[in-house]
Amino acid sequence: MILQSVKMAWEAITSNKMRSFLTMLGIIIGVVALVVLVSLVNGATGAVTSEITALGNDMVTVNVRDDKGSPIRLEDMDEIASLEAVGEAAPSGSLNATAKFGYSDVAVSLYGTTPAYYNIQGLNLKYGRFLKTADIENASYVAVLAYNTAEELFGKADVVGEQLTIAGRSFLVVGVLEEDTSLFASMIGGYSAYAPFTVESRMADEPYVTTLSVSPNGNTDETENQVESYMLTRFHQDEDAFRLMNMSSISDAMSTVTGTLSLLLGGIAAISLLVGGIGIMNIMLVSVTERTKEIGIRKAIGAGKKSIMMQFLIEALMVSLMGCLLGLALSWLILEIVTVIAKTIAFSMSIGVVLLAVGFASAIGLIFGLYPANKAANKHPIEALRYEG
């Protein structure tokens, strides 16, 4: 019987293609809105979160705002590193300056740090070496360049052994990092270089450590706790004297934002689906009236209430599901195009959102088909037969 109802519904839908399509349009638009918006948010979130994890792994960063008379010195880094849950610790002072080589110059962020920084940040070398302990102790004017910095300044990447000036001082290039192709790097942009902390702090006229990062030894939460209590002890229990940050707190905050965002956008899309459902109900009601005679004939030759009900309900369901399928196809197309345009992010429909769309569309087809179908099923056979449309 269901098969027959499907067949009948199909005949009814195809016998008035334009109208059926227009009825579906509401659902199509709703589904496209739902799927595309949710997929875009998910795609962007996924890309950014994986960047964050890849980039900052699980380091904890501390920013000192007020040293309360007991500033952190370079020597204190060992003490911090010796905390049980801390792996390594490195300062990262920074200053903005102009780097020059020959006639070319570029604005760089110069980070003053120690060898531990390499592992904490998860950096990778392409050429040469990173900073050494001896460089720090001797306050040598040596620098490690980011790949893009080297390319921009020298027009090539393999520049180990070359001399350049940063903020007017001459530096020897000892290493070049691997190219950072991540989305994050392309979003933040900029050029960076790394020098010994002792050199950078002298140039910036900031002898103390104001920013430092540590890598965890085991559990990141534990690391955070220990670093926090260390800082609290140091800064007279003043929580506002410093700020603690880790990547997971950033990505948590981010996923809260994107979660809210996709809920909001999904909600808007759901409303447009609802409007599509009302469109279906509207047309179904017209269709039931138009087909009063047909209903009368079917009843006269033995169709029961249930069969008529089923026929119209399935018709509504099919219109809505066909709209849903078309909407999914269109969404897929749109996402492919966006992926091509966005280049770095691959947007795709998750099974979850597809199921959500199908579920929502069927629910809407059923709910908004119920009233017209019921109206059809309850027509009195004789009156229906008499109807002249």
Partner: protein, 229 residues
């Protein structure tokens, strides 16, 4: 011939319509018995209650009072769903204006009552073809109603009524929309079906057609009376 089992047995059937506060007694204590294999014609002036009677016989409507037994079953406390099943299995309707579904082919129209019996495809097609064959329309089975003449459309409707092998065929002025020649052909078809054993109730205005039936019943103001037994 009139000695078969009663298929229809009505006692004191009344149907009253109230329009604008005024009562119209469409059927007023009608009594009627129709036996298996009979060919009964019902005549009466317009508004006398013929269609009302037929709708009640065909279970499209229920009487306000009285007893109606169809094929041994008392039709009183049935639900709509059950009445639909009875119409499907026991009744074959033929209407003045054919009442075919215009979107479907002749064959599909004939199949329709069988679909509601949940009959399987092959058997259904077979039965529908047989029915079309009986009314002589095998070669038109794929035509849509609009592609058929009035007489042919009425034949399709008759085939549809025959397809389920009903206990009784009910025809309400089946020739009303046809020219007299075509009408005669249709009446001839009914006589042929009657000879083959079908039970037929035929409503008509036409005295001449009525007179050819084996038995004649007259309705006047909702009251039924036998003519010239």
């Amino acid at each position: 011939m009139a000695s078969g089992n009663p298929i229809i047995s009505m006692t004191d059937i009344t149907k009253v319509y109230t329009v604008g506060g005024e009562e119209v007694r469409a059927l007023d204590g009608a009594n009627l018995t129709i036996r298996e294999g009979e060919f009964v014609s019902i005549i009466g002036p317009s508004g006398s209650g013929k269609s009302t009677l037929m709708n009640i016989i065909g279970c499209l409507d229920v009487a306000d009072s009285g007893e109606y037994i169809l094929d041994g079953q008392s039709i009183e406390q049935y639900s709509e769903e059950e009445l639909a099943r009875i119409r499907n299995k026991k009744i074959g309707f033929i209407f003045q204006n054919f009442n075919l579904l215009s979107r479907m082919s002749a064959l599909a129209n004939v199949e329709l009552p069988l679909i509601y019996q949940r009959m399987h495809l092959n058997e259904r097609k077979e039965k529908a073809k047989q029915a079309l064959d009986r009314v002589g329309l095998t070669d038109r089975s794929n035509h849509k109603p609009a592609e058929l003449s009035g007489g042919q459309q009425q034949r399709v409707a008759i085939a549809r009524a025959l397809a389920t092998n009903p206990a009784i065929l009910l025809a309400d002025e089946p020739t009303g929309n046809l020219d007299s020649k075509t009408g005669e052909d249709i009446i001839a078809l009914f006589h042929e079906l009657h000879r083959a054993g079908d039970t037929i109730v035929l409503i008509t205005h036409n005295e001449q057609i009525a007179s050819k039936a084996q038995r004649r019943i007259r309705i006047l103001d909702g009251k039924v009376s036998e003519v010239g037994v």
